[in-house]
């Protein structure tokens, strides 16, 4: 081997060794500040068995803000793990559930249903490549393999796999010294002042494609069906809920009745109960923003609606 080539190899070798060291430090730091990421919760959960696992997008996250999960556990006598993630559609939730069932056990899944999550790849395939989620996901060879299979079979961007395996998002994490909390948690005690402009903006964000594409909906309906199959194979009972949102916000949801009808039929055929609380809590005092429950909202929702479901009353 020539001298320049040896030198180049040595440079690369030292660089890789340094990279491994930085990667290890970033992983350790992630464990120090981790909190809300569903994979972090699975990896660090103290218990093996749960009564309930909660899946869904950001509407389900206030149920785990601050110490609310513990409060719900005390109020219902159930062991609960909330694995909801912001903007997570059925594909991401199925991925989370599969990984959970590989590691732990639950008797029930509470799936928090959102129509927007069935309308765009933004909330499904593209969520896997979100650096905010990747940088808080602990490394596990099984998870890397699982993600690779999603890249090959489900169209998840291969760069997400590369990012996860290389730990790039963790190394490059700007918030590496901050606790992993979703920005909504900081507003948990606020009360939202209704604003038509804010509602419109939020709807535009949740539904990036103005026109619903039946093929896209069919794709995510099938993914959701396969999530239900996964639960069924594992002997896990699924209960579906729709979280409350203000009535004025609900009116803006595009084609919501058609969505309810299609998913309702699917669940009915499988004997899965669905509890639609969409219009159950209209008062602005229950929300910290356009459509997320605040502390007062979660408290009321727990006592009036969720508690009986979790207790099996």
């Amino acid at each position: 081997m020539t001298h320049p080539r040896k030198t180049a190899l040595l440079f690369v070798a030292i660089g890789l060794a340094l990279y491994a060291g930085v990667y290890y430090a970033a992983e350790r730091q992630m464990y120090r500040t981790g909190d809300a990421n569903p994979f972090f919760k699975i990896a660090t959960a103290a218990e093996e068995d749960f009564d309930w696992v909660i899946l869904g997008a950001s509407h389900a996250m206030p149920l785990d803000f601050e110490d609310f999960n513990a409060k719900i556990e005390r109020a219902t006598g159930q062991r609960i793990l909330n694995l909801a993630a912001p903007g997570a559609g059925p594909l991401y939730n199925r991925f989370v559930l599969e990984h959970f069932l590989d590691r732990r056990h639950t008797d029930n899944v509470l799936y928090v249903l959102d129509s927007f999550a069935f309308h765009s790849s933004t909330w499904n395939e593209e969520r896997f490549a979100d650096a905010k989620l990747l940088r808080r996901t602990p490394f596990a060879p099984a998870l890397a393999w699982h993600l690779t299979s999603y890249s090959l079979q489900e169209g998840v961007d291969a760069l997400a796999v590369l990012d996860y395996v290389s730990g790039f998002s963790k190394i490059n994490n700007r918030d590496r010294f901050q606790r992993d909390v979703w920005e909504g948690e900081a507003q948990f005690d606020r009360t939202h002042r209704p604003s038509a402009a804010a509602d419109r903006k939020r709807i535009d964000y949740l539904y990036p494609s103005p026109e619903a594409d039946p093929a896209v909906f069919a794709r995510y309906r099938d993914v959701f069906t396969s999530l239900l199959d996964t639960a069924e194979r594992a002997g896990v009972r699924v209960v579906v809920v729709k979280m409350p949102v203000p009535a004025r916000f609900h009116r803006l949801l595009p084609e919501e009745p058609a969505f309810d009808q299609a998913i309702g039929r699917l669940l009915l055929n499988r004997g899965i109960p669905i509890h639609d609380f969409s219009l159950a809590m209209d008062e602005p005092r229950f929300y910290f923003d356009t459509d997320h429950l605040n502390r007062a909202g979660v408290t009321a929702f727990l006592s009036d609606h969720l508690g009986p479901i979790l207790r099996g009353d």
């Binding site: 660089g15 650096a131 490059n172 700007r174």
Partner: protein, 484 residues
């Protein structure tokens, strides 16, 4: 395709590998194909404009070479310039001017719009095209027979988005070589790419959010916020643009093609004339000098014409910059005119400085005076940048007014200002950059590195690479000048 994207880090090694495996006489074809792929990756339709400019440059260039009469040569030159510059003017200004006209006339939106954004990089390859045609007409360049070489000159991917505005007289002769890098060129190219990425991703993109925040709420931001943002923007735009240029020159070197130096530590200029003439965007400065200032008569015709010509150059430069990321607006015209005024002041006070230099040579050459002049020049340029960055002339004036009104309280305000980690990071990076540039001014950093022990050299390389990994903002923020 951005230089900072993952796709580019796959694209570049692939192009290099295939280039190495291609017979030398066909490398131009491979590099032309790669350049078109690189450009089309941004927006395939833009290839149409690139094609039009290439055909015009080659056709008119050959026509000028073969034309038997001066009249025909002039006709071909004017026709070529009309197409290339006409498209640029139409893309940049037509919709904006129609809108302004309707607003002044108080009429609703009735006139037709083009609705076409300026194709990315058009301003840069259009200026290359203009220099080719004018040089061919003036006899400084023998128009190229090989259409592929002309196409590669216009489309060469490292420079297509944001320059340097390379001249055909220096570019085309290099296409006759093997189009492969020597080991020295490879090392220099990789060093420049690394330094360019550091300037862009670590410095410019870490400053950008702080700048964006204050400029977007100029009426509500505190004077300290605004002052910091003005300083930060001066370094953001420098690191963004010079970072791009360094990467472009570095990538080009990997193929054995040298592009001209475009930045030479501009904030160490002791006058605005030095800043614009010899240190900032050198290829554009020379372009304006050779194709506008000199043809207008430069400083040869008389003092009044000299002032007029200087202002013309800077106003046209302002117009050329319009549409760059921050929209098309009157701010660019004001920015150009303000820099023109600086030149006027420089010309007017030139004799005073020369007399001072003659009477007090030690004082004129002293370091403290030089430092003072550098600081004054930097602040003049920074004030002009406010017009470049602000959303409107009103916003720019508001920012300057608010900073000015709070200036006498600034020391106290700074002591009480809640600096964030991002502020400290930005200030630290700027300090590092300034120190390195001062060292580089005395002796090239690369020469210093080459002379350093291997352990120190490698430590610097690793520090740079890991700074990119740990601190770089890789979320594909565009280069500012790409949008001109």
């Amino acid at each position: 395709m951005l230089f900072t994207s993952f796709a580019f880090f796959v694209f570049l090694p692939l192009v290099l590998a295939v280039n190495a495996a291609t017979p030398a006489r066909w490398r131009w074809a491979w590099l032309l194909l790669a350049s078109y792929v690189f450009y089309a990756a941004w927006e395939p339709f833009n290839l149409l404009y690139l094609g039009v400019v290439t055909v015009v440059v080659y056709g008119c260039g050959r026509g000028i070479a073969l034309a038997s009469s001066r009249g025909l040569r002039i006709t071909l030159l004017v026709a070529g310039l009309a197409v290339v510059l006409g498209l640029m003017v139409a893309f940049k200004f037509y919709d904006f001017l129609i809108g302004e006209l309707e607003q002044i006339a108080g009429i609703a939106r009735v006139l037709p719009r083009l609705g076409v954004a300026t194709p990315v990089g058009y301003s840069f390859y259009a200026f290359c095209a203009v220099s080719y045609l004018v040089d061919a007409y003036a006899g400084r360049l023998a128009p190229e027979r090989h259409a592929g070489n002309v196409a590669l000159y216009v489309a060469w991917f490292p420079k297509i988005f944001a320059g340097p505005i390379e001249r055909a007289t220096t570019f085309l002769p290099q296409l006759g070589s093997a189009l492969r890098a020597t080991p020295e060129q490879t090392v220099a190219g990789l060093q420049l790419i690394g330094w360019g990425l550091f300037k862009k991703l670590v410095i410019a993109d870490n400053l950008a959010p702080l700048v964006d925040r204050s400029f977007s709420i100029a009426a509500y931001a505190t004077p300290v916020d605004l002052l910091l943002s003005v300083y930060f923007f001066a370094f953001q735009i420098y690191c963004d643009f010079s970072g791009y240029t360094d990467i472009a020159i570095g990538v080009s070197l990997l193929f054995g093609i040298s592009l001209m130096e475009n930045f030479r530590r501009p904030y160490l200029s002791a006058s605005t004339a030095e800043f614009w003439g010899r240190r900032w965007h050198i290829s554009l400065g020379r372009w304006f000098r050779d194709y506008l200032y000199v043809p207008l008569g430069g400083s040869r015709i008389g003092p009044v014409r000299r002032y007029v010509n200087l202002m013309a150059v800077f106003v046209v430069s302002g117009l050329w910059h319009a549409g760059l990321g921050y929209g098309v607006g009157w701010t660019f015209l004001v920015w150009g005119a303000l820099n023109g005024l600086y030149q006027w002041a420089g010309v007017a006070t030139g004799p005073v400085w020369r007399r001072l230099g003659a009477r007090l040579p030690r004082l004129a050459a002293s370091t403290p005076l030089r430092v003072l002049r550098v600081l004054l020049t930097f602040h003049l340029i920074a004030v002009a940048w406010v017009f470049f960055r602000a959303a409107s002339v009103g916003d720019a004036l508001l920012i300057l007014e608010r900073i000015g009104s709070g200036l006498w309280r600034m020391p106290g305000l700074l002591l009480r200002y809640p600096f964030s980690v991002d502020h400290y990071l930005g200030l630290g990076l700027i300090a590092l950059l300034v120190v390195l540039e001062i060292l580089d001014e005395r002796r090239s950093i690369w020469q210093r590195l080459a002379a350093a022990p291997v352990a120190l050299r490698w430590a610097v390389y690793y520090a740079g690479i890991f700074a990119l990994l740990v601190l770089g903002r890789w979320q594909a923020r565009e280069f500012i000048y790409m949008q001109f």
